[in-house]
Each structure stands twice: as C-alpha cells, then as structure tokens.
Amino acid sequence: MSSSPLSRRSSVTAPTRPPGDRPRDDHPDLPTGAAARAPGSDAPLVKRRMTPGRRRRIWRDTGLFFLLIAPNLLAILVFSYWPSVYNIVLSFMDWNLLDPFPEWVGLANYKDVFADPDFWTIILNTVVFTGVTVAGSLVGGLALGSLLATRVRFTGLVRTFAFAPHMLPGAAVGMLWLFMFDPNYGLSRFLFGLFGADSPQWTTTSDWSLWALTIAYLWQRLGFVTVIYYTAILDLPQTLYEAAALDGAHGWRMLRHITLPLLSPITFFLSVTGVIASAQAFDLISIMTGGGPGISSSTLSWMVYEEAFQNFDIGRASAAATTLFALLLMMTFIQVRFSNKRVNYAS
C-alpha cells in the first residue's frame, strides 16, 4: 500500500480529483480484501514531481513510521535476530560464562560434538520425537477434525475439550502425564491391566522415556491441529462436493481427490510450524524425564540447556543450538520446496 501516501497527498495537491477515488487508492486491495498481503507490494509508485513540500511530508511520514515501529523493531532485533546470529559466532568459541572473554577455537566445538556418539543419539531422538509428533498430530488431527466436522451430537463439546490441553502450561501437562504414567498408581497400569499386562516403567527406563514424552506432547498438540483442520474443512467450498457427488465420487475418493488437495495449504502450515514447535519442546522433557535416564530422552533442545546452564560449556551448547537452527532451516526449506510442487493454493 505504498500508494496511500501519494494518493492521500494528491487529495491536497490535486483537488479536482473525484473524492470517491481516494478510498480505493488508499487501500487498493480492499475491495477484494481476502489474501494476507504484505504492505507496499501492490500498486507501483506513481512518478511525481518532487516539490519541497512533498519531500518534507515523506520525511515526516518516514520518521513517524520508524517512531511507531521502533520499540517492536528494537525488541525483535535485540532478542531475536541478534541472538540467532551471535549464537553462531559463539559456537566457534570456548567459554564457561565466567571468564571475561570467550576464546576463539574455530571448528573445535563441532569436531568435538560430531565425534561424540551421544550427540548422534540425541539427533536421532530429536528426529524421532519431532517426526512422530508432527506426523501423528497431522494424521490424528485430520481424522478427528473430519469426525468433528460431521456435526453429530457432542462435537462442539469435544472440540472444546480437545483444544484445552493446548492452553495449559507444558509444565502442568508434564506433571499430569508423569502421574498418568506412574506404573503403580497411574492410569497406565489400569489401561495395560485391561489387556492383562503390566505398565511399562515409562519415564524411568530408557526404552520408554522418549515415547512417554511423545505421547504427552501429542496429547497437548493434537487438539490444536484438530481444530485448525476442523475449521478449514467446514470452510471448504460446498459446490465442489456437490459436483463431485453428482459425478458419483464419495468416501475415500472424495477425500483423496478433493479434501486433501484443498487442505494442502493448511497441512503445509501445520507441518512447518509443527516441526519448529516440536523440535524445541522443552518443558515436558524438563518436568518428566530431565533428558534421562542417561540420554535416552535427550533432544537437541535439552542438550542446549544442559550444556549451557548445567555444564556451562557455552561453545558446545552454541554448536548444538546452531545445529538445531540449521536442521530447522533445512526442514523448512524442504517443506517449502515440496509445497511449491504439491500445495494447491488455487482456492
């Protein structure tokens, strides 16, 4: 909407212009109004003679613009962009937070970390946890969202309860699931008892600890994905379904050829944000397992915390954080590439 200053000004410099034109110029995309578009993308700047008055107004507007965004811009620069960059620098340093200055060690942290077999276990844990929670929440959320979209009885109530866990502090969810997983007095014993089995020692054995985290995280995330899918499904164009039904399509084919393609932008959004959220899951790990036993439930996000704030090895921690960052960038890149081929934005 970079044209808005010009057109608004033009109402002063060119009073002959029909006033009815102004609103349209101010918001050239308003009548269509649908898609989220970044400002200034449309309507090329009209070339105009630069009078001193006009120039002064542009400077005044620019000043005001920066004044308004300054607090937010500053916060984002200082606490988001700067740390993302400086973290990479720190990964080439050796530091314990106490010495006055970090020491440059080049690639030593990476060599050290990559040579450590534990690190690869942690990477594997991260990939398994992220992969299972994202895939599980997408499949489960689509199924549950479709089920709720049938609007039989109780769907409104279930939608509310499904979403509620997403609102709770991760620490509370972690505590609740610790209790659920208690092999002696938790619901887990009851459920396994139904099949005549003993409950696994979920959080205290290395075979099960990562799965305990995965289940708890899925429980917290599933309702969010469900509700997004549910909203999107109810929003789909009905005429397409009517047309397809007339053509004899139903059930699976309707899902495969109409619903899934139409939902692909949502799936894309949920998978990108899901990977970013899952890979950073921390509160559940901290409350439920502390990365253990051993490193059986450690992920990269836990490693960053442990190395930095328990072992005070900033170099190693930064190397782990940079690896996490690089993996997430790579995943996002792959997802975007994939989506360019497969995601249908036509709707």
Partner: protein
C-alpha cells in the same frame, strides 16, 4: 461498526461456522439425511475421542482433591471418597506458591501489556503510515517468527546478564515483548477499517495519533482482545526463559514452581503435586472456557489465511 467487524473478513472463525447448518457437509451428506445407525456410530466415535482428552483432565482435577489413601490404592479409585483440600495447603506450604503466583501475575500482565502496545503501534504504522520500504520491513518482522526461540536462549541470557537484569522482573519480561504474531493479526484487522472514516477524520484535522486512538483502536477492539488473550496464555505458560533467567525461589514463576515442588515432594505425595499442577493450570483453563471461541478463532485466523 466496531462490533460489526469482529475479525478480518479473511479470517474464518469457528463462530461463523459453529452454527448448525442444514447444507451438505464436506464429509458426506446432509446430517439430517444420515441414517440412524451411522449417526450412532459417529456419535460413539466422537465420545470416545472426547474421553481421550477429558479423562486426563478429570484425572488431574480428581487427583488434586484425593487423599493419599485414595491415590495410592489399587484398584484405582475413580471417584474420591472425600474431597481432600489439604493437598492445596500442603503444596502451598512446601514451596512459596503465593510468591510464584504473584510473579506469574506480574510478568504475564506487564509483559502482555508491553507486547500489545508494540503490536498496536507497529500494526498501525504498517497499515496507515506511508513508507517506501514497508514491504521489506514487514517481511523482516514477520520473519522473526521463523527464528527458533530456543536458539536465542544463550545469547539472550548473556545480553540480559550484561544489562544486569538476571533474576529481576525486567529481565523476565523484556526478551518477550517483541511482537510478530499479534502484530500480524492486528495488521490484518486494521486494514479492514473503512478508509473513508479516516479520511473524514483527517479532513477534520485529526492527526495520526488521534486517528489511531479514537478510530482504529476502538474499531479493532475485538481483535485486540483476541490477540491479548493469545499473548497472555503464551506468557503464563512460558517455561524455559524463567527457568534460566531466575535463580532464587522468590523470583520463580508458577511453571518453574512445579519443577521445584516436584523436587521437594518427590513422588510420595502426588496429592500435593497435582494440587500444585492444578493451581498453575486452572487460570488458563478458566480463561479458555470463558473465551474459547475468541481464542480458537484467533489461532485459526493465524493459520487459515
């Protein structure tokens, strides 16, 4: 007018769609034309799925008011024999829960206020103040959502340490006041404000500040409320930053208090642990049940554009 634009037209909210419709649904035929057996099967499935979410929440509530005799018993006691509110007192006495709650309240309220001020000013600038490179600026700020917060922890810890703010309220609050998501929601909303009203105000001599305070903000009030709720929930639930940036019990927030409580009580007093968990979770649950349409609608609006 202000109530006529609850959300951006581009943002479908569940409230638009949660009214019963009689048309065919995407998943099949008209609900009223569905055979009875299918309706029963679907309803049973819906209830079964609901239990997956409901039972753990019930388990939390019931466990918080069970005596230890009820908790440590087999077979499980689904219904407490008596309401045992002692658990809350025990949790409250074992760790300074009142102080945790106060800290959570302070950091959440001030942090939310600051972030929302940032979001409103910034969204207004992007929607109404001309600047040539707005597009690039906008992408730059929205792009910060793609930066994983966990990666910024170490450097933020160092920055806040250098500012001398570790273990203080400003240190807890400041790193969280940058706004991208709420700013985006508000920007979407503000673009729908009728430009003719603003033109008229400008002709009447109202400057940007007056137009923002008297026209744009009131007209965007519903979305501001939605964004405030979402931001508030995020801040209340914040875990890792309060964990590393505070180091004394009197500066901890409720979620960290739970970790502390667990380390004090171990697993021998689940009643108190669950009572503490409920105290940390209940404010958000209440908020959610009061404003669920608004919250779900706002979050869906962020996803479905």
């Amino acid at each position: 007018m202000s109530s006529a634009v609850p959300t951006a037209p581009s943002a479908p909210t569940p409230s638009d769609t949660s009214l019963p419709t009689s048309g065919p649904t995407p998943t099949g035929a008209d609900p009223s034309r569905r055979p009875l057996w299918l309706r029963i099967v679907l309803t049973v499935l819906v209830i079964a799925c609901g239990l997956v979410f409901l039972v753990p929440i019930y388990w939390l509530f019931s466990g918080a008011v069970k005596s230890n005799d009820d908790i440590y018993s087999w077979p499980l006691k689904w219904i407490p024999t008596a309401l045992h509110f002692e658990n809350f007192r025990e949790a409250w006495e074992t760790v300074p829960f009142g102080r945790f709650a106060l800290n959570s309240l302070i950091t959440t309220s001030i942090g939310t206020a600051l972030e929302m001020i940032n979001a409103i000013l910034c969204a207004y600038a992007f929607a109404f103040v001309p600047f040539r490179y707005k597009n690039a600026m906008f992408l730059f700020m929205i792009g910060s959502m793609m930066l994983p917060g966990h990666v910024t922890l170490i450097v933020n810890y160092i920055t806040v340490g250098n500012l001398g703010l570790l273990n203080t309220y400003p240190g807890l609050i400041l790193p969280g006041i940058g706004s991208a998501f709420a700013m985006f929601l508000l920007y979407q909303q503000m673009r729908t404000v009728d430009p003719e009203i603003l033109q008229a105000a400008e002709v009447d001599g109202a400057g940007h500040w007056r137009r923002m305070v008297t026209i744009v903000v009131p007209m965007s009030a519903p979305m501001i409320l939605t964004a405030t709720l979402i931001v508030m929930i995020g801040k209340w639930n914040e875990y890792v930053w309060p964990l590393i940036s505070t180091n004394t019990a009197n500066m901890r927030t409720l979620p960290i208090g739970l970790l502390y409580l667990r380390s004090q009580e171990g697993y021998t007093n689940w009643g108190a642990l669950l009572a503490g968990t409920l105290m940390a979770a209940l404010p958000m649950l209440i908020l959610f049940f009061l404003a669920q349409r608004r919250i779900i609608g706002g979050m869906a609006a962020g996803a479905i554009k």
